[in-house]
Symmetry: C2
Subunit: 392 residues, 2 copies
């Protein structure tokens, strides 16, 4: 299935899942979702990973041909899983968890029917997302590498600008640059209706166009089939250009936003941008293992209020309900930094903080960085300048 | 919700769905999936479209703010839908269809619980996919436009090649070119574990690396998190370069593959490429309304056998199980041109035919074109040369 090098890492992840299964009083987890398979097996395959509360993981593989390993079992259809477990002397689970938030209703029922004597629950997504929220040292290294590559590309952003560009013309150059810097292109998001191309480039008044997606920022998009990000707005002097683009350089995401401008922006834009930085610093200073995610949100909202910029906080015509989120294999992992979040920070979580503002007619301001939660507090993994950078 | 111009088109699509609901003896369809919402409403929104077997569609919208229209009802959570229907005098359905193949198990159950007195079924996906398989004249115009833009970009492919490039270096230039030619970037695929970036560029022996995805061709990919397409192979003289890239220029996909080479390819490669063209012509000549999709597949497989190239047909180490598929809002719509397909061709379907071959050490050969099923037979919408084109 995977290289020998990856075996200890896979074992560690399996053990984390097994601890969570014991706490949930469940006997096994059956995974199908690509992000989850990549997590447990170190690669995407078409098939199923079966993790019992005790013992080794089994990978039931439909495609690709040619995977090797003691734990690889080729099948043509999922109905063979029960028989394959029996033939290996693995007891069928009394309580089996499936990924109720990503498996389709029809596929869930097909899988549940394989285990007619088991109690089957859709809590598998919640369980694996809790496990995935706390990164292993191997994962942290992957995210550090992605963040470093992301950061390098961002430092070069101004060189891709040419006078007279529209948002989409600029975005296309940045996409190209990101790929040349090693981006894998794909933007993995949790949630079946969440979609975007490589990220968001928001210029001027387009920042105030609301989108249907549950991202921090919107934009009208170029087409009603994907109404988010660029809409063809020309980049004008004194407006802002917020770049919030794909950091998937290693299979793990980092998340990074910076603001650019042609000419200088108004004092108001600079002031509100400064409030974002102040919020980020206050939240990061407060964040450490044991702190409630909701308290971080309230800290941010409180500062926005003190500074009399609530009107623009996390959007203007439409507001996002969070100021941060976990990142990892997907860009929107746990914890969620939102007012009613029940998440509590743990060492090893990786969190993007993005306290942003939308100023009508000027554009979006604010910063986003990816942080690692350490025993001592937050370590910022993305370090390029937080100032509004001139493109011209 | 949408411009007045789109109203007659939306009405036509609704009526097609209502006919299908009557045939299925169902009272209503509740849609959530972005591709389905875009189909019925002409735009993606976050919410639900409720289509009763008689009467107007209602759009229950959570985001974005600001949508207008007689049929727009803002809600905060789906539980409000039943109340909103009652308050409008709409009878709750006896039999409601939900999208069982795209809704997650947990979301399906949440929606089903809103209608405790209804018979709820997950057959909504099958129904809407059948409806979407037969395109309206408006949709055909969108696909024609996408195909024309796609074709224009493909004619220019050789100019993006530079000596010494690897597959990924070439692919990055083609992605950039596609975006500059108006591609919306996003590649909409049906099926939650189906993913690719902008398409597939397969060079030389990488064409024979199997992938986990249910695409016609594979490739190892650059990373185990997305094991498909380019893997860093250098483009070498005498090997083939198959380009099968994104045709989403209008919210509707077209699908187009062509083969390129540096230097000339072997007689064998040219011969097998010719078999692909012969298969495509035979299948296209046979295809017309009323013909079974399975018969088209058998026609293709028969020619591959006659020509003694079965070994390479639709892959070598791993084979795809189809030679064509519908295209529309998503790249893999109905009908499926596969041996056990029960689909029957209808006027207005749009089908990509891709009888391809993988020659170990040489690469992939064959063509793919997008066709419209007319009353008289197949009209090819993608018309650039089908020869193997030299890059140098």
């Amino acid at each position: 299935m995977y290289s020998e090098m990856f075996k200890p890492e896979s074992d560690l992840r399996r053990q984390k899942i097994q601890t969570a299964l014991r706490n949930a009083k469940a006997d096994a987890l059956l995974l199908v979702d690509n992000a989850d398979l990549y997590y447990v097996a170190g690669r995407v395959f078409c098939g199923y990973a079966y993790i019992p509360v005790e013992g080794e993981m089994l990978c039931f593989v439909r495609r690709p041909v040619g995977l090797k390993g003691d734990n690889v079992v080729y099948i043509r259809k999922p109905e063979q899983i029960a028989e394959e477990l029996r033939s290996r002397g693995v007891a069928l689970p009394s309580c089996l968890l499936l990924e109720g938030d990503t498996l389709s209703f029809n596929e869930y029922n097909r899988l549940a029917a394989i285990f007619p004597d088991s109690k089957v629950s859709g809590e598998g997504t919640a369980l694996i997302r809790q496990v995935r929220a706390v990164k292993t040292p191997y994962e942290i290294a992957k995210i550090r590498q992605s963040a470093a590559m992301h950061d390098t590309m961002y430092r070069r952003i101004p060189k891709y600008y040419a006078e007279g560009m529209t948002d989409i013309e600029f975005a296309i150059e940045l996409e190209h640059a990101a790929r040349q810097h090693g981006s894998l292109g794909i933007f993995r998001i949790f949630g079946h209706n969440m979609e975007i191309y490589m990220g968001n480039v928001l210029v001027g008044e387009n920042a105030d166009n609301p989108s249907p997606y549950d991202f921090a920022m919107g934009g009208a998009g170029l087409d009603t089939s994907l109404p988010v990000s660029c809409n063809g707005t020309a980049i004008r002097r004194g407006q802002t250009v917020m770049v919030d683009m794909n950091g998937n350089f290693t299979g793990y995401m980092s998340d990074l936003s910076r603001v650019f401008s042609v000419g200088s922006v108004s004092d108001k834009a600079r002031r509100v941008h400064g409030v974002s930085i102040r919020i980020q610093e206050a939240v990061a200073a407060m964040a450490r293992p044991g702190v409630a995610a909701a308290d971080l949100y309230h800290c941010a909202a409180e500062i926005a209020k003190e500074e009399h910029v609530e009107e623009y906080f996390m959007g203007h015509r439409q507001k996002a309900g969070f100021i941060g989120h976990g990142v990892g294999i997907e860009v929107n992992e746990l914890p969620v930094i939102a007012p009613r979040s029940r998440d509590v920070l743990q060492e090893g979580m990786v969190i993007a903080l993005e306290p942003k503002f939308v100023l009508p007619e000027i554009g979006a301001v604010g910063v986003e960085n990816t942080f690692l939660v350490t025993a001592d507090g937050m370590e910022k993994l993305t370090t390029c300048t937080e100032d509004i950078v001139r493109l011209d």
